[in-house]
Amino acid sequence: MKATQAIEIEIFNKLFAAVAEEMGIVLRRSAFSPNIRERCDFSCAVFDAQGEMVAQASHIPVHLGAMPLTLQTVLPKFEWQPGDVVITNDPFSGGTHLPDVTLIKPVFFEKELVFFLINRAHHADIGGKYAGSMAVATHIDEEGVRIIPRYLFRRGKLNEEFFNDLLERLRSPLERKGDFTAQMASLWRGERRLKEMYKRYGVKKLREMATALKEYAVRAMATLIKNIPKGEFSFTDYLDDDGLGTKDIPICVKLKVKEHEIEIDLTQSADQVKGSVNAPKAVTQAAVYYVFLCLLHTLGEYPINQGCFWPLKIITKPGTVVDAVYPAAVAAGNVETSQRIVDALLGALSKALPEVIPAASCGSMNNIAIGGDDFAYYETIGGGMGARPFSDGLSGIHTHMTNTLNTPIEALEHDYPLFIETYRLRKGSGGRGLYKGGDGLIRQYRFLSKATVTILSERRRYAPYGLKGGESGKKGQNWLIQKGEKTALPGKVNLEVGPGDQVIIETPGGGGWGKIEN
């Protein structure tokens, strides 16, 4: 590293990150879906012409880690021109699940392609059999409209025919149009900022610094790997079921820590299943990246870019729950299986780094999608965080692969025919231990009109594990109250409900860490 780079790296890191952050502000503030505007279920990033991530705004780990694969898949398939925007949500082209729609814009300086800007946002609906597009389905086509990567804009011109046709196939098309417009506005803003940087620094400097930033991240990762004991570490955790009869679905991680790289072998995981817990490869990759970025964070504040991922070799077998192929249903792979991959990987790492790795967290995003004649609503509920080797886990919080906000009850009840009976911590659900796991949450819904409800949740049969003698967290539970009768619901279910019916979701607590000393 040249001496001056020690100063410039920090400056350019901030400059590139600012572009991604500003894109996020524009997107959030002008979007319509509660998912985007209230819950911040979106992400923005800057990539270089080779398709490698240069900077990102910290939003949702599952998006950010998955975007590199999206661009790698899409980049060579298009002949990029100024003014183009490519759109996709295809899980088999580097996407996550159908509601996450990605827009990609190449940025040209003079006539040279130098950067790509990407944003990905979770739309409240993307068509399909059930409102909210998060149902228990068996085929990708039932889950919603799949957009194979294609031009939304070509040389600055919107493909109106395609766009209008797409909107027609979605519920609340006006709202969706607003969300797409917000995504575009965010790309234009990012482009403007990159062009200003180009004017100020020139293309050579920007390229050089993009590369320097990546190399810097590689050096940071090298330090990290040096601190992990060498050897092989394995761990298996299980998904409860796929909602359609397949139970106890193993996620197996075999970790090989070498001198300069780490191999993460997931090939022994279950074959893909009928229900929607299949994770496309991009999701698996995102989960692995997430874990290593957390480890990197224990060393200090480092820029997050493609360089962080270079020393990680992820091995999967196509056709498994961690590398799903067409026509697998994948809605829950992104939100549920991603969490279990993290749990399995942390389990393996806990054998190498027992004083660093926390016990299992809630392990589910506790998804609920509610749709009626004229509305579609979706939200996720946090749970308990696993205890850390130095402190208790936090209660009532989103962990690992998501970080979406809750929707204010006063906004929810104003906007939808829904009523919240209670929203509170689930006391005593955190696993006991030297350090206690965090408590989960209880959210109780009453429906004011006829509606279809889908619940996608996990850790209803397999509890979040404790570590070093700490107890597991309490499993989650879902309930239906109909005509005064309370019945237990499975972890994954599609339901028809009427006015007055209620659903209660009790989310899992985190695992404990360490034996309780008497």
């Binding site: 901030k14 936090l394 104003h414």
Partner: protein, 652 residues
């Protein structure tokens, strides 16, 4: 005599007008009891009115030394303050923590009652439930009570009934429908709880101060730039948390107006952080302030703060990259040159570069050890294999990038072109960084007022009495909206007039401003538009300005209505007379990218209005130093304000 007192971490600043001359006075702060310094500073003055900018509330909050507070809410939602928005503050982080709580879990309890989103009573609040609430409170040794019921912003009667039911306890009670009658329950609950938590502390402090000033009227600066009577500030402490910074922005704006300028970006660089604010003809407000992890959704002057200040520590991370802050050496131990600590800071870099002259630092009241700065930075320089001066320049550059980010955030990112604005610098260290920031940001010019180091106190002196009122109304912006709007506006106005009357202000002296918070139906972020005939077009225009697009065919809703009422601002004429010890004209050496330069040291007190000169130069004054880079041209404006122009704009 009207006197302003602003409490800071190191100094308490006093500003007043005597015989038409604006005067300032600095005394050392007394953190154990800030009123001691205030009283010392005003001891020799015939004070009739004291306007006070206080950090008592803010500090009590940051140290979690507020009053023990009970939190009462709708049954089923008792944990609302602990769940928050269920998100974590840091994404890739096993060690993430929630903000330290301000209310004990055992002091939170629910009452059976429920309103709908339309403000209808679904479950009435029974007399029995009120009694239960009273007896639960009796069992707890709490000093203050916060009440926030779901949807209370639409129907305050349940909260009012509870307040009445517990009045026999003689505890201060903050209710959400009074503090912040707006939707979003967590933000409202948090704001209400902050108020309950801080009010007893504020009230005690003000009572003590008032006892020692029996004959003077005591006013407290609020975060919105106006003042409140002390009695009221003791009930509404949440309104005072940005007291000092708000004074700074109002002060900057009044000062700029004396130069005929009303478009400024304020830049106030302190020891641990830097505050910036863009003023485009009027002072902007936000309701998204976060106080140490807790939302405070009252209108506060829209100040953006970044953790970059003179005390920020520079270090090399494991990858060998230079970082600055956000950790700060603060005032104690302070930068290495203060003689206690040995970690290199931004201030040390300025010392090494010759931009801070030890003999003029804080009027010579504070001894600096420049050799310690050199030693601290030399360790970094060795590891980076560059010279000490180059390392110091690097520290300045990295610190500047954080400040530039803040300046861009309030300007470019909100659709404002910096070229139309002047950068208005105040606070001790701002003048050292102003030129570099100007070059990067492209502002028109830089203004540095003669009273840069006491500008917040200056702002307090001329603050008007001011209050904000609001109500969430959920209204479709169509033809039928007008009548309902009028009705609520009148209600708010009545409320405002009666409260101002209690402050001794009568109708003829009051100015009213109305705002509509609007959005396209289905969005979650509202834009505040001044009330006007065609508020719909105004909203669309603002949306386009901020986000680059607007819609013709989308329905629009008015979410919240706002009213701001303002009394007359203090209208004393003032001028400045140069004073202070004289600085002999001499040369010094300053390090820049081009190496060491010979630079004249200019005494600000000797400059005459209308005088012009070119950079490089160091302009010094007892508490402020301005580093004028080469390529900058200086003109001395009204009130001895330094006006710096960048000549590089024209040459390239």
């Amino acid at each position: 005599m009207r006197v302003a007192a602003d409490t800071g971490g190191t100094f308490t600043d006093i500003v007043f007008v005597e015989d038409g001359i604006l005067k300032a006075n600095k005394v050392s702060s007394t953190p154990f009891d800030p009123s001691v310094a205030v009283l010392e500073g005003i001891a020799s003055l015939p004070v009739t009115t004291l306007v006070h900018g206080s950090t008592v509330a803010t500090n009590a909050f940051l140290e979690r030394k507020g009053a023990r507070t009970a939190f009462i809410t709708t049954a089923g939602f008792e944990d609302i303050l602990f769940i928050g928005r269920q998100a974590r503050s840091s994404l890739y982080d096993f060690n993430v923590e929630k903000p330290a709580p301000i209310v004990l879990k055992k002091d939170c309890f629910g009452v059976k009652e429920r309103l709908t989103a339309k403000g209808e009573v679904l479950i009435p609040l029974s007399g029995q439930e009120q009694k239960r609430c009273l007896s639960s409170l009796k069992k707890r040794p709490v000093e203050s009570v916060a009440i926030c019921l779901l949807h209370a912003y639409l129907y305050p009667k349940h909260e009012q009934a509870l307040k009445k039911a517990i009045s026999s306890l003689h505890l201060p009670v903050s209710i959400s429908s009074e503090i912040l009658p707006e939707f979003r329950e967590f933000e409202r609950a948090s704001t209400t709880a902050i108020n309950a938590y801080l009010s007893p502390i504020m009230s005690r402090y003000l009572t003590r101060l008032k006892e020692k000033l029996p004959r003077a009227a005591l006013y407290i600066q609020q975060s919105n730039g106006g003042w409140l009577k002390a009695e009221e500030a003791g009930r509404l402490a949440a309104h005072t948390v940005l007291s000092g910074p708000a004074g700074g922005v109002s002060g900057a704006f009044s000062w700029a107006k004396t130069l005929g300028e009303d478009k400024i970006i304020t830049f106030d660089m302190g020891g641990t952080s830097t505050d910036v604010c863009l003023v485009d003809g009027c002072i902007p407000f936000t309701r998204e302030y976060i106080l140490d992890g807790f939302p405070l959704s009252l209108p506060v002057i829209d100040i953006h703060t970044v953790g970059a200040g003179g005390g920020c520590i520079a270090y090399l991370d494991a990858g060998g990259v230079l970082k600055v802050g956000p950790q700060s050496a603060g005032a104690d131990p302070g930068p290495a040159c203060y003689g206690k600590g040995d970690l290199p800071t931004v201030t040390d870099a300025n010392v090494v570069l010759g931009r801070i002259l030890p003999e003029h630092f804080l009027n010579g009241r504070f001894r600096l050890y420049p050799e310690r700065s050199k030693k601290a930075i030399s360790k970094l320089a060795q590891r980076m294999q560059i010279s000490i001066e180059e390392a110091a320049l690097g520290i300045i550059e990295v610190a500047n990038i954080n400040m530039i980010r803040a300046l861009r955030r309030v300007s470019l990112e909100r659709g404002y072109d910096p070229q139309a604005f002047s950068l208005f610098c105040f606070g001790g260290a701002s003048g050292l960084h102003a030129c570099a920031l100007t070059r990067e940001l492209g502002v028109r010019r830089v203004l540095v007022p003669k009273l840069a180091s006491v500008l917040s106190a200056f702002g307090l002196l001329f603050a008007p009495p001011l209050k904000d009122f609001s109500r969430t109304i959920w209204l479709k912006a169509d033809k039928g909206a007008k009548d309902r709007l009028k009705e609520v506006l009148l209600e708010l106005k009545r409320q405002a007039a009666s409260q101002m009357k209690q402050m001794g202000l009568v109708e003829g002296e009051l100015e009213y401003e109305y705002f509509l918070d609007m959005r396209y139906q289905g969005q979650g972020y509202e834009l505040s538009i001044p009330l006007q005939d065609d508020y719909i077009s105004a909203f669309c225009e603002e949306h386009k300005k901020q986000f680059g697009h607007s819609y013709q065919d989308f329905p629009i809703e008015i979410v919240t209505l706002r009213l701001r009422v303002r009394g007359q601002r203090e209208n004393t004429d003032w001028q400045i007379r140069p004073e202070g010890q004289e600085v002999p004209l001499r040369q010094t050496k300053v390090f820049t990218k081009k190496g060491w330069l010979e630079v004249p040291v200019i005494d600000w007190n000797r400059l005459r209005i209308g005088e012009q000169f070119k950079g490089p130069a160091l302009v010094v004054e007892p508490f402020t130093t301005v580093w004028v880079e080469p390529d900058f041209f200086v003109e001395v404006g009204e009130n001895y304000t330094l006006i710096l122009y960048y000549e590089g704009y024209t040459s390239n």
